[in-house]
C-alpha cells in the first residue's frame, strides 16, 4: 500500500507498479468491477505468448442493477489506435513492460491513452479478448 498527499494519478499508478511482484499487471479502477473469469481469461492469453491483453467492457446502472453500454472493441490495430483510444479496460500486460513505459504525470487526464500509445510503439504482442471482463460501476 502506498499513500501520498495530493499525488497525480500517474504518480499513484507508478507507485503501485513498484509494489507489484507478479509477472503480469492488470489495472483496475477503484470504481470498477472484474468479471469473475477476468484474470483466468487474461492469464490464458498471456500464457499463450501475448505480452498485452485488453477486453471488452460495460457499465453498471446502479439504479436498475442492469449492465449497460457494452463496448465491443475491435481487434488490435496500432494504426487505428493512433486515432481512437479504444483499448480502455481491462488491460493486462507484462509488469516489466508496464514499469519500463510508466505513467507520465505531465499527461494526467490522458494517462491511459498516452501509456498505451507508448506500449504500442514497442514490439509487444497485443491481443483482444472479445468478452466483457470489466464493469465500470460509477462514473
Amino acid at each position: 500500500m502506498s499513500f501520498a498527499t495530493r499525488a497525480s494519478v500517474s504518480a499513484a499508478r507508478n507507485r503501485a507498479l513498484e509494489l507489484a511482484r507478479g509477472e503480469f499487471v492488470c489495472f483496475l479502477d477503484h470504481d470498477a468491477l472484474l468479471h469473475p473469469e477476468a484474470l483466468a481469461a487474461m492469464a490464458g492469453k498471456l500464457r499463450e505468448g501475448f505480452d498485452v491483453g485488453y477486453s471488452d467492457e460495460d457499465k453498471l446502472d446502479d439504479a436498475s442493477g442492469l449492465l449497460t453500454e457494452p463496448f465491443f472493441k475491435p481487434a488490435w490495430s496500432p494504426e487505428y489506435f493512433r486515432g481512437a483510444t479504444y483499448v480502455g479496460h481491462l488491460l493486462c500486460l507484462r509488469r516489466e513492460l508496464a514499469a519500463s513505459v510508466g505513467f507520465d504525470p505531465a499527461l494526467d487526464g490522458v494517462q491511459d491513452f498516452a501509456f498505451m500509445l507508448r506500449v504500442s510503439e514497442t514490439d509487444a504482442r497485443i491481443t483482444h479478448i472479445p468478452r466483457g471482463m470489466l464493469t465500470i460501476a460509477e462514473k
Binding site: M1, S2, F3, A4, T5, R6, A7, S8, V9, A11, A12, R13, R15, A16, L17, L19, A20, R21, G22, E23, F24, V25, C26, F27, L28, D29, H30, D31, A32, L33, L34, H35, P36, E37, A38, L39, A40, M42, A43, C92, R95, A137, E138
Partner: protein, 86 residues
C-alpha cells in the same frame, strides 16, 4: 455502507481466497489507485477481486491523496486481513 463495515462484509471471501493461494509469488498483480473512494465501491471492487476463478493474484493499492481519512483507514484494515494485499 460505512467504512468500518467493509472488512466484515468481505471476511468470508478473504478466508476463502486465502485457502486457495498455493504459490509464494503471484502471477498477476492487480493495480488500483484510490481517491476518495466510497466504502461501498471499495467493497464491491474487492469482492470482484476475491471472487476471481483464478486465485494466483495480489492486489496493489496506491492512494492518490484522498481528502477523506476514511479511505486510508479502510485500506489499512483491509491490509491487516488480506495476505495478498500490498
Amino acid at each position: 455502507m460505512r467504512a468500518n463495515e467493509v472488512v466484515s462484509v468481505l471476511r468470508p471471501l478473504i478466508v476463502h481466497h486465502a485457502g486457495r493461494v498455493k504459490s509464494k509469488l503471484p502471477l498477476i498483480s492487480i493495480v488500483t489507485c484510490t481517491f476518495n473512494t466510497r466504502p461501498r465501491w471499495l467493497a464491491e471492487a474487492a469482492a470482484s477481486v476475491l471472487n476471481q476463478t483464478f486465485a494466483d493474484w495480489e492486489w496493489c493499492l496506491s492512494d492518490a491523496g484522498s481528502d477523506n481519512p476514511e479511505v486510508g483507514e479502510m485500506l489499512q484494515s483491509l491490509g491487516k486481513r488480506m495476505t495478498r494485499l500490498r
